[in-house]
């Protein structure tokens, strides 16, 4: 244990980054955790429940947030990105850009203030399916528990109103971007993933037919904090979804899109079929798949679903989706590869199991790392002292991610302890 060691920089505050940060800090090392969003938790915070236990991600997050709150060795920077990273193992220099939150955190903002505002912004937390006020609380379990102001969305009238009704110490409308320069001994890259852009799958009509959703949207539809307060309904008319199709490998395992398997979508769709069944006992779900990839102990989840006569599995890739012009129902053309039959089935809602794209495919860190053809970071990275974890390295579920990031925390600690 080297108590004087330089801190570890963790880039990304999703489940991978949080785990790496907390685990390293509890051993006794200092950690600087940098997250680009205004809150920690990343993608998992937007999940309604986890497979296979059907437990809410907020349960584990509450424990992790407590571990962060009570550990003086962890410093968290939200709305921050790493702009420069140079040096070698044991001695890296980092420049962090911290965007202004405009809310100081020195004094809570009362909800009555929000109610009086008229300017709104698209709610990215709910996958753009609803809006929040320009001054907003990111979500129920937000950490840090501080409001955020979207300065661009704020109208001039609202700005004046805020100046008038908000305690002056609560807001700082002149807050400026900050730049932090720190030295760290090791770096963990946990930059996570984003869903594949479903509009690229033209034959599946996402973005053209309102009742075609992606699996990440389905998570928000099912969640109480979502746009429908947890009702699984059709966007076109708000009617309860009674007959839902899940289209597997929407982009994944497809050389024109994502050649790799995204590893979680089979389980995610089966989990979502259960959401549907638990919320509506008459609802039906059909899962169109190539292979059901329920690996390891997860197989039991699949077996349990086979017992449910309202859930059907059809082996076959969906060739095309068309919308009924009046009902806005969706007609799926599929070849059932087991029977050889061409199917033409109608559903009232379709969920595309879109896959995992590493954030590093689009946004590269300011240090020369090796990537595979898909933008995933190659192995433990090619630079000594820099370690990748979670979906930055491969598509994987939460359980694998947390193991992986715990292992990365040890790599970073080894780097700090070298030469001791």
């Amino acid at each position: 244990m080297n108590a004087d060691a330089k801190p570890i920089l963790v880039i990304g505050g999703g489940i991978a980054g949080i785990t790496a940060a907390v685990e390293a800090a509890e051993v006794g090392y200092r950690v600087v955790l940098v997250e680009k969003e205004a809150y920690l938790g990343g993608r998992v915070m937007r999940m309604y429940r986890y497979f296979p236990k059907m437990c809410p991600p907020t349960c584990g997050f509450e424990i992790n947030a407590r571990r962060i709150r009570q550990n003086p060795r962890i410093v968290v920077h939200t709305q921050s990105t790493v702009e420069e990273l140079s040096g070698t193992a044991g001695d890296f220099k980092v420049r962090i850009r911290k965007r202004p939150r405009y809310v100081t955190g020195k004094c809570s903002v009362d909800d009555s203030v929000l109610e009086r505002l008229t300017s709104t912004r698209v709610n990215d937390f709910n996958q753009g399916m609803d809006e929040t006020k320009a001054l907003y609380y990111p979500h129920d379990m937000a950490y840090p528990p501080i409001h955020v102001l979207d300065r661009e969305a704020l109208s001039e009238a609202d700005e004046e109103l805020l100046k008038e009704i908000c305690p002056p110490e609560a807001l700082d409308l002149e807050m400026e971007e900050e730049e932090l320069k720190i030295g760290v001994g090791a770096v963990i890259v946990a930059t996570g993933w984003q869903p594949y852009d479903a509009t690229k799958l033209e034959h599946l009509k996402f973005g053209k037919c309102p009742n075609v959703l992606t699996n990440v949207m389905m998570e928000r539809l099912a969640a109480r904090g979502g746009p429908t307060r947890g009702e699984i309904t059709r966007p076109s008319d708000g009617k309860s979804a009674e007959n839902v199709a899940f289209v597997q490998c929407a982009g994944s395992r497809d050389e024109n899109h994502l050649p790799y398997c995204s590893a979680v979508c089979c389980m995610a769709s089966m989990k979502q079929a259960r959401y549907l069944r638990e919320k509506n006992e008459n609802a039906k779900a059909t899962i169109f798949y190539i292979d059901i990839r329920a690996v390891g102990r997860l197989e039991k989840f699949y077996f349990d679903l086979l017992e449910d006569s309202n859930i059907s599995f059809v082996k076959g890739k969906v060739a095309e989706i068309n919308e009924h012009p009046e009902t806005r129902d969706l007609i799926l053309d599929v070849e059932d590869t087991l029977s050889g039959e061409k199917l033409n089935q109608t559903f009232d809602l379709v969920v595309l199991a879109t896959g995992i794209v590493p954030n590093s495919a689009e946004t590269k860190l300011p240090i020369e790392l090796k990537y595979d053809d898909y933008g995933f970071i190659d192995g433990t990275t090619s630079i000594d002292g820099v370690y990748a974890a979670g979906c930055a390295t491969r598509p994987c579920d939460v359980s694998r991610t947390t193991k992986d990031s715990t292992a990365a925390a040890l790599k970073a600690i080894q780097c700090l302890n070298r030469g001791e």
Partner: protein, 760 residues
């Protein structure tokens, strides 16, 4: 340590609408007049400058115990306060102002009661001194199992500066990895087979001065606790007398990497009957040893192989698990055959091909090979044909037809069975054996004998040989994997300081096992470091409290030793609990279990909670204001109450909430105390239990539920209705249910009437 005189300060916040909703002066009077606290003041905020002013007052007034009535404890960062000061926070905003009408008498009563409860609580709280055993904490790590997971764990721990003892039961390191010819691709472009790298791994272990290797050895006994495990190694045979003690040493933490055994294949596929039906592990050995694939029956060069997937693993009728590596192994082995002969043919019959992530690239590469035929279908039959080869019959192949293929060799993709032992089952077996002969009655003996039969498969399966009251090995989950039940916390182990890793924990491939082992090594190191600081490990990470047993009053009922979810307590010959403090996770289940109330923490005790209950002003019966005590699990239900407040859901003002570490720490006497103090009912809200339990202390909430029988007995003794105590399971996300539960219960109390003991 010198006991400091308590100097209590109370800060009442006037911001957040508190001053508008409540009579703050009256609140101050509760502190100064009823409790005569030496310092009480109002602050306009408990964040930012408000918090600074609180800290200034703490210093100026030399306060060492502080109650802040303002915002939820979840809104503070702990190190905002001086470390030597105990700070208790009351969520006046979330739990009173946001969920009760402003200016009402009942709202004021609620706030005043919370103030009474928390001043009482802090009076009862002692200053923590972290647990330090008399002997030094040992910082070395024992790794049991010398396969890829064990080797990796050893190397990773050593690279972080920790001494490692690596114990392998066979004569050689390397495990299954050493038996492989090649590994599946782990690096871009994920298309070509890789060398296993096992020789280099073993060489690194042997060259590492921090790693001491014992081969042909097993753990004969492990006594003690994290930081203080005393290990006796025994010979595993291999030419030496079995059970001979080889060495004794002390370690701080343990990693169990005992690996796997190939699963018995499906019986109907003639394995063991036809020489040319072999398992994947045997094909691997054939290639590794001979460098080519020949038929076991006649030594003929193999030109065609049928690989049969799920050779017993995922068969639906068995409701079993998927072994996760068999698809990759068969794809790999198909390439062995193809590389040996350009004309060779490999058939792979499967239900699903499972190659997650970038392994899909490898699958695609095999699909591109014109000599590999991948077909979905169910293999129904394997028979010897006239040509001396084998005929495989497959039904329901892709286009719906049945096919037959003739091959030289059939390879069954056999899955993995963990090399684990269920410590609790072994212990139960031993107990049952004793009872079967010494049982009090014939019926009891018969029941025990049946249990012995049920548990017979656990006989002699010990691996770690822990000297623990609750059994010699880690408890296991379904399919015998000693895995974590938690998705967010995959290293959660029910034996503190002992971490299973690799394929013993769950089916996994070599790459996953290496990562997993790195994580397990971190957990072992973390446990050692936290134990050295006298801190608890996950989930109450950093907690410096620990239980104290007042043994003079112990009646040896063994409830605590049996119910502790983490096997913390051993027993002496009489059955008195022996605390192994560094195993403790501080959940308080022992405190909840103890009928004599002899277990307490300095900052959490039966007396403390009972005193909080009694601190509440219970109105007379004719006031028609019932009082309900609600005990909420502080991990899920208590934070959910904050969320209910955040959403401004209004609920009955008659409920007084007390957070508990775990519902398993709920002591029955609190029911009696509540009823005799005049409460009209008690609500318990804990985490979900059952197969998909969410209790962070594994079975705390379930224990609380099972103790409800005793609660009912207690109520009957007092001639009280059963309905006066209710237990609920709640997920943190179900916050809207809390007001429902409270309101429904308040209505119920109205129906059944007030507690007749009130005011007596």
């Amino acid at each position: 340590m010198i006991r400091m005189e308590d100097k209590i300060g109370v800060f009442i916040c006037t911001g957040y609408g508190i001053a508008e909703a409540l009579d703050v002066d009256a609140l101050c009077k509760v502190a100064t007049e009823e409790y005569s606290v030496p310092f009480c003041t109002t602050v306009d905020s408990c964040e930012g400058p408000g918090l600074d002013s609180i800290n200034e007052a703490i210093e100026a007034q030399s306060l060492n115990k502080v109650v802040i009535a303002g915002i939820s404890p979840r809104r503070y960062v702990d190190h905002q306060f001086p470390t030597a000061v105990i700070v208790e926070k009351i969520a006046l905003r979330e739990h009173v102002v946001w969920c009760q009408p402003a200016g009402e008498e009942d709202t004021q009563m609620l706030a005043e009661d919370y103030l009474r409860m928390y001043i009482t609580k802090i009076q009862k709280m002692g200053f923590l001194e972290p647990f330090q055993p008399e002997e030094d904490i040992d910082t070395s790590i024992l790794v049991v199992g010398g396969g890829v997971a064990g080797i990796t764990a050893a190397l990773e721990a050593a690279a972080a500066g920790y001494e490692v003892k690596l114990v392998e039961k066979t004569a050689e390191l390397g495990g299954w990895l050493a038996k492989q010819h090649k590994s599946v691709p782990t690096r871009p472009p994920y298309r070509e087979l890789e060398d296993t790298g096992v020789d280099e791994l073993i060489a690194r272990v042997q060259a590492d001065p921090r790693i001491q290797v014992y081969t042909s050895a097993t753990t004969g006994a492990i006594e003690g606790a994290p930081g203080l495990f005393d290990v006796t190694l025994k010979s595993a045979g291999n030419g030496k007398p079995v059970d001979e003690a080889i060495d004794k040493f002390r370690v701080g933490a343990i990693i169990q990497a005992t690996g796997w055994t190939p699963k018995d294949p499906r019986e109907d596929l003639e394995y063991g009957k036809l020489d040319d039906v072999i398992r994947n592990v045997e094909l691997e050995a054939l290639v590794k040893d001979k460098g080519r694939i020949v038929r076991p029956s006649d030594g003929k060069e193999v030109k065609s192989i049928a690989f049969i997937q799920c050779g017993g693993s995922a068969a639906k009728e068995h409701h079993s698990y998927c072994s996760s590596i068999c698809c990759l192994t068969s794809l790999k082995q198909a390439l062995y055959l193809r590389e040996s002969d350009d004309d060779a043919k490999a058939y792979i019959f499967y239900e699903f091909i499972r190659t997650p992530g970038q392994y899909e690239d490898f699958y695609r590469r095999v699909q591109e090979d014109p000599g590999v035929f991948l077909t979905r279908g169910e293999v129904v039959d394997v028979t010897r044909n006239e040509d001396g080869g084998l005929t495989v019959t497959v039904r329901n192949t892709m286009p719906g037809e049945h096919i037959q293929v003739n091959v030289d060799l059939v390879v069954l993709a056999a899955g993995m069975v963990p090399n684990s032992a269920d410590g609790e089952a072994i212990r139960a077996l031993e107990d049952a054996k004793l009872k079967a002969t010494d049982g009090k009655s014939g019926a009891q003996q018969k029941e025990a004998a049946e249990k012995v039969e049920q548990l017979a498969r656990h006989e002699g399966t010990e691996i770690l040989n822990l000297a623990y009251r609750q059994g010699p090995d880690l408890p296991t989950l379904e399919y015998d994997f000693p895995d974590s039940h938690f998705i967010c916390f995959p290293y959660e182990s029910r034996r503190t300081g002992i971490y299973p890793t690799g394929a013993v924990r769950q089916p996994m491939d070599g790459l996953a096992a290496r990562e997993d082992a790195g994580g397990a090594a971190l957990q072992a190191i973390q446990c050692i470091e936290m134990t050295s600081r006298g801190e608890a490990v996950h989930p109450r990470s950093g907690d410096k409290s620990y239980p104290d047993f007042f043994l003079q009053r112990c009646t040896q009922c063994k409830r605590c030793t049996e119910e502790c979810p983490f096997g913390v307590l051993d027993e002496d010959a009489k059955g008195t609990p022996l605390l192994r403090a560094t195993r403790c996770r501080r959940c308080g289940v022992c405190m909840g279990a103890c009928p004599e109330r002899i277990v307490s923490f300095k900052d959490y005790s039966v007396d403390m909670v009972a005193s909080m209950l009694k601190a509440v002003n219970v109105p007379d019966e004719w006031d028609e204001k019932p009082r309900i005590a609600a005990f909420l699990c502080e991990n899920d239900a208590f934070p959910a109450l904050d969320l209910a407040g955040q959403h401004r859901i209004q609920f009955s003002p008659f409920v007084r909430v007390i957070p508990v570490r775990c519902l398993g720490s709920f002591n029955l006497v609190w029911v009696t105390e509540a009823i005799s103090a005049g409460y009209d009912g008690v609500i318990l809200i804990g985490c979900k239990y059952g197969d998909d339990y969410q209790c962070h202390f594994v079975k705390g909430s379930e224990l609380a539920a099972s103790r409800q029988t005793n609660v009912r007995e207690k109520l009957e003794q007092m001639s009280m209705e059963n309905e006066r105590v209710e237990l609920h399971q709640l997920q943190i996300s179900e916050y809207e249910r809390i007001p429902e539960i409270f309101n429904n219960f308040a209505e119920l109390i109205e129906e059944i009437g007030m507690n007749p003991f009130k005011g007596m």
